[in-house]
C-alpha cells in the first residue's frame, strides 16, 4: 500500500515539486545573493535587463605609491578564465569576489600605458571588486551596484 502510494507520488508530484523548489530557490538567490534572473532555473529569462553578459565587474588596483588604475578581468585570463568570469558575473557572492581579488593581488596586474603617467611599482597595496548591473529608466541606460565593494589588501 505504502509502496503504491510512493510510486503514485513519484509519477505525479515529484517533478512538478522539483521544478517549483528549484524555481523558488532561484528567486531567493536573485533577491539575496545577486544571481542573475536569467539563470538558475527560475524561468526569469526575458523578464529583466540584468543578464550576466550585461553586467560589469569593476576592478580597481592601487599600488604602494597610491597610483590607482582599473583592470578588465574579462581580458585577464591569468587571473580569471572566461568560464570563471561568466560564473562570477552571474552569481557574484562575496566569498567568490574575495577569492578573485586575492588572485588579482597575487598576480600584480599592470595598467595600460594610457592609464597612468608614471610606471606603477610592482608592490600592490589594494584590489577592489564590485559587480554592477544595467538598468534603464525609459530614456537612459546606467549601471548600479549589485554587490557591496569587496576589498583585499596584502
Amino acid at each position: 500500500m505504502l509502496k503504491r502510494s510512493l510510486l503514485r507520488l513519484l509519477k505525479t508530484v515529484a517533478l512538478p515539486l522539483l521544478l517549483t523548489s528549484v524555481a523558488c530557490r532561484q528567486i531567493v538567490l536573485v533577491h539575496t545573493a545577486g544571481l542573475s534572473p536569467w539563470h538558475g532555473g527560475g524561468f526569469g529569462m526575458f523578464a529583466s535587463l540584468d543578464r550576466d553578459e550585461r553586467r560589469i565587474l569593476m576592478t580597481t588596483v592601487q599600488d604602494c605609491d597610491g597610483r590607482q588604475w582599473s583592470l578588465d578581468l574579462a581580458a585577464t585570463p591569468q587571473v580569471l578564465s572566461p568560464a570563471a568570469y561568466t560564473y562570477i558575473t552571474t552569481f557574484p557572492t562575496t566569498p567568490q569576489l574575495r577569492t578573485v581579488a586575492e588572485r588579482g593581488l597575487a598576480h600584480a596586474p599592470q595598467p595600460l600605458a594610457t592609464e597612468v603617467t608614471t610606471a606603477p611599482s610592482q608592490c600592490i597595496s589594494r584590489v577592489q571588486l564590485q559587480v554592477w548591473r544595467l538598468v534603464y529608466d525609459g530614456e537612459a541606460i546606467a549601471y548600479e551596484p549589485i554587490t557591496s565593494l569587496v576589498e583585499v589588501q596584502p
Binding site: 513519484l10 509519477k11 505525479t12 515529484a14 517533478l15 512538478p16 522539483l18 521544478l19 517549483t20 528549484v22 524555481a23 528567486i27 544571481l35 534572473p37 536569467w38 539563470h39 538558475g40 532555473g41 527560475g42 524561468f43 526569469g44 529569462m45 526575458f46 523578464a47 529583466s48 535587463l49 540584468d50 550576466d52 550585461r54 560589469i56 569593476m58 582599473s70 578588465d72 561568466t86 560564473y87 552571474t90 552569481f91 554592477w132 544595467l134 534603464y136 529608466d137 525609459g138 530614456e139 537612459a140 541606460i141 546606467a142 549601471y143 548600479e144
Partner: protein
C-alpha cells in the same frame, strides 16, 4: 500541391499511430542530441553519445537503463553548471526525468501526459511571476531597452517601432563603449515614442499570453480555458518565437504539448510545428534581413 499535402498527412498519421508515447520518447532523444550544440560544454558529451545510441538502436528507447543513464548525465551537467544554465536546459532535465519514470512505469503515456501538462503550466507560471517580480515589465522598460540594444530584436524595432537600423547600431555601439570603459554614468538611448508605446503594449501582451498558458494548463476550471490550452500554447510559440527564435525551448514545448493533448487535430499541429520549426522559426528574420539588404542595394 494536394498530393504533397496528402503525403505529408499520411506520414504524420504513421508517426502518430499508437503508442504515441514511443514517438515522444524518440523525439526527446533527437532533441537531446541537437539542443544547445551552439553552446557546447564537455559535460554534455555523455548525454549526446547516449542519445545518439538510442536513435541508432531504437529498441533502447523502450528500456529503462538508457533513460536512467541519460537522467544521470543531465543531472550531473545541471549541477555542474547550475548558475549559468538558462531555463530550457533545466526543463530538459525535468523532462528526461519524466521520461525515465515513464520508461519504468506500466502506464507511460499517462505519466508523460500528466507531467507534461504540469511542467508547462508551472514553467509559464514562474515566467509570468518573474515579469511582476523584476519590476521592468509593467512600465515596458525591459522590452523597450531590449528592442534598442538586442540585435535579435532588430526586426521588431524596425517594423513595430519605426526605427532604422543605423539608430539601433548607434545604440549598441554606445552600450558596448560604456561596458568596455566601465562607465557607470547614464547614457541616453535613441528611440521614438512609437517604440516606447509598442514596448508597453507588447509587455502586457506577453504577460497576458504567458499567464493564459499557465492558467489553462494548471487549472481545469474554467472549462473553456482548459479546453483551449493547446491553441493558447501554439499562439504563444508562434507569436514569440517568430520574433525571438529559441529553437530548443520551442521544440521541447511542442513535444510536451504533443503528449498531453487529447485532440488528434492538435497532435498534428504540434508535430507539424515541431518538424517545420527549423524553417518557420528563422523565416521572418531571414525575410526581414533579405529585404533590408535589397533596400540597401537599391
Amino acid at each position: 500541391m494536394t498530393m504533397i499535402f496528402q503525403r505529408w498527412h499520411r506520414w504524420c498519421e504513421r508517426l502518430l499511430q499508437p503508442p504515441r508515447y514511443l514517438l515522444v520518447l524518440r523525439l526527446t532523444t533527437w532533441l537531446l542530441l541537437l539542443h544547445s550544440i551552439d553552446e557546447w560544454f564537455w559535460t554534455m558529451l555523455p548525454e549526446k553519445l547516449l542519445a545518439a545510441a538510442m536513435i541508432l538502436y531504437p529498441r533502447l528507447v523502450r528500456q529503462r537503463w538508457p533513460w536512467l543513464g541519460l537522467s544521470l548525465c543531465l543531472i550531473v551537467h545541471n549541477l555542474w553548471h547550475w548558475a549559468t544554465l538558462v531555463n530550457h536546459e533545466y526543463l530538459y532535465t525535468y523532462w528526461v526525468l519524466v521520461c525515465t519514470i515513464a520508461a519504468c512505469s506500466r502506464t507511460p503515456r499517462q505519466v508523460l501526459s500528466w507531467n507534461a501538462r504540469w511542467l508547462i503550466g508551472l514553467c509559464f507560471l514562474f515566467a509570468t511571476g518573474w515579469k511582476f517580480l523584476a519590476g521592468e515589465y509593467l512600465d515596458g522598460s525591459f522590452l523597450h531597452a531590449t528592442f534598442l540594444l538586442d540585435s535579435r530584436l532588430a526586426m521588431g524595432a524596425v517594423l513595430l517601432g519605426g526605427l532604422d537600423l543605423s539608430t539601433l547600431a548607434e545604440n549598441r555601439q554606445l552600450f558596448e563603449t560604456m561596458q568596455a570603459a566601465g562607465s557607470i554614468d547614464p547614457q541616453n538611448l535613441l528611440s521614438s515614442p512609437r517604440m516606447a508605446g509598442m514596448s508597453l503594449v507588447l509587455s502586457y501582451w506577453t504577460i497576458l499570453i504567458e499567464g493564459l498558458v499557465a492558467a489553462s494548463f494548471l487549472l481545469t476550471v474554467p472549462r473553456w480555458l482548459y479546453q483551449k490550452r493547446d491553441w493558447i500554447l501554439v499562439c504563444f510559440v508562434i507569436t514569440t518565437y517568430a520574433v525571438i527564435p529559441v529553437l530548443g525551448f520551442g521544440a521541447l514545448l511542442m513535444v510536451m504539448g504533443l503528449i498531453q493533448t487529447k485532440s488528434m487535430r492538435m497532435a498534428y499541429v504540434y508535430l507539424g510545428l515541431l518538424i517545420w520549426m527549423p524553417l518557420w522559426m528563422p523565416l521572418p528574420q531571414g525575410l526581414f534581413w533579405a529585404a533590408q539588404r535589397m533596400l540597401e542595394q537599391m
